[in-house]
Amino acid sequence: MFKRILIANRGEIALRIIRACKKLNIETVAIYSVADKNAEHVRISDHAICIGQAPVSESYLNIPAIISAAQITKADAIHPGYGFLAENAKFAEICEKSNICFIGPNSASIALMGNKISAIKALQAFDILPVPGSSQTNTLDLAKSEAHRIGYPVLIKAAFAGGGRGMRIVKNATDFDLAYHEAKIEAKHACDNETIYIEKYLNEPRHIEFQVISDHYGHVELLGERDCSIQRRYQKIIEEGPVTNIPMAVIQPIREKLKLATQKLGYHGVGTYEFLYQDNTFYFIEMNTRLQVEHTVTEEAFNIDLCKWQILIAAGKPFQMTTKPLRYAIECRIVAENTKLGTPSPGIITKIRLPGGANIRIESELYQGIQITPYYDPMIMKVIASGDTRADALINMRQALNELLIQGIDTNISQLQLVLNQPWFITQAIHTNILTAAKEPMHEIPA
């Protein structure tokens, strides 16, 4: 078992990982940038080491500084969290070569599944089909003829970038050239790789993802599905699970194929297969080779500690599943932004009041007086509500958001409250474009 784990991340996920380490009686090393010197993960951790200036390139993406920090503090493993270096195959490889265990799949798995084009190819071998199109298109002419073949509207996507960067919807051939060049430039700057591909644009898909966990002894489990269709700017803001309103005849074959693929591809640890779902058909879009932001939904629904198991599996322990009655969970992401203007809202939290009671879980680093800096992601809190049924979980979530008070900065709390009360949300008639496509503004409905 590991003696000391360095956590190569910040914010709520760094706290989350420290808590899992403490359950396993493992010492923790927090890293932090100059801007994060007053952060909670620094205060709570057994050890903490400053690795650089505020910009991510000088701190949380600074591989030499992080590896040195691990060596100086004699950490025997690194947990990357999500974002930053979590899906960086080169970083995983450097850890492997430095005799530090990278808590996640091996670098070869990350390289294979981190590139969306090679991930799609790998899963096609197991009869898991992507969105029509989805092959690499190196030149403008090739891309254009591919777009013509699958038919407009099409989506241009970057092979490596996430979070909607390098992504463009193209409605007709006239707009194609400009969108193609814009997408390439954006992808290049987002992840230093301009590889892009074209896929058919689905107008009203749901985002459904499959949580997988796999140990080194061939034991693979699929822990239900999550619906993450409520998104803004291609980023999830509400996630829920397990998904219960898709016919078993459609979902079960996908589960079996994914289980087989995970085994045969030698994937180890936790991971997520992401799909679009429309007209009773699943289309594979990409895999996340890490713990996800919304892993908490599965944890609450299945009463399992995925982060703890991720560490145990990395340490070579066999995975053991204890089946418990399934519950329902919903997660809301609280972000520091002005939802009307679409602008970020850094600043000082002048007052904060957290919701509580049974079936409410809060993952956050916030405290009164903390400065939300402009350097990092706007997500400042996750609220997870659970219940025996979706209706129960929804009631609990509404109450939690009513109780939650954050002052000093703008947040999306009232937007979330509106969504939770819309008829289309209550009846789960949702899709990934619903927040932008809604022609009429959302109106207040008394709960």
Partner: protein, 140 residues
């Protein structure tokens, strides 16, 4: 150089508060004093993407100020030319720079038509709320 008369600072501060100004600057042969108020409304309360040019009686030129804390980019991408430079004519609503905060990129637009007379920041510099980005000579 004459010693600074500190009573003028208090006087200027009163003027700033009375007129609810963000910033004031006076200059003569010996002295240059710049005062900035932090007591006015917090960032974003009435924020718009279009920045108000700082048009006080005392400043020599109106300027385009930053509506947020963040990192400023003077060109659309590292290989491209700057959006604007000294001597360039800008239209009202024209993009003059981009500010990155929390992984989001906000285009900063000029509120006035005019000629850029000074670029007050460097590319990729960290900027504060209300910090001066460009000075502009407006078209009359």
């Amino acid at each position: 150089m004459k010693p600074i008369d500190f009573s003028i600072i208090e006087e200027l501060n009163n003027f700033l508060n009375t007129h609810q100004l963000k910033r004031i600057r006076i200059k003569n042969a010996d002295t240059e004093i710049e005062l900035e108020s932090h007591s006015i409304s917090k960032p974003y309360e009435n924020s718009t993407v279009i920045t108000p040019a700082n048009n006080t009686q005392t400043s020599t030129h109106p300027c385009i100020t930053s509506p947020m804390i963040g990192t400023v980019y003077l060109s659309p991408n590292p290989d491209a030319k700057p959006f604007v430079d000294v001597g360039h004519t800008v239209e009202a609503g024209q993009v003059v720079c981009i500010i990155e905060a929390m992984k989001m990129f906000t285009k900063i637009k000029s509120e006035h038509a005019g000629v850029i007379s000074k670029v007050c920041i460097k590319n990729q510099q960290a900027v504060d709320f209300g910090q001066r980005l460009f000075e502009i000579i407006p078209h009359v």
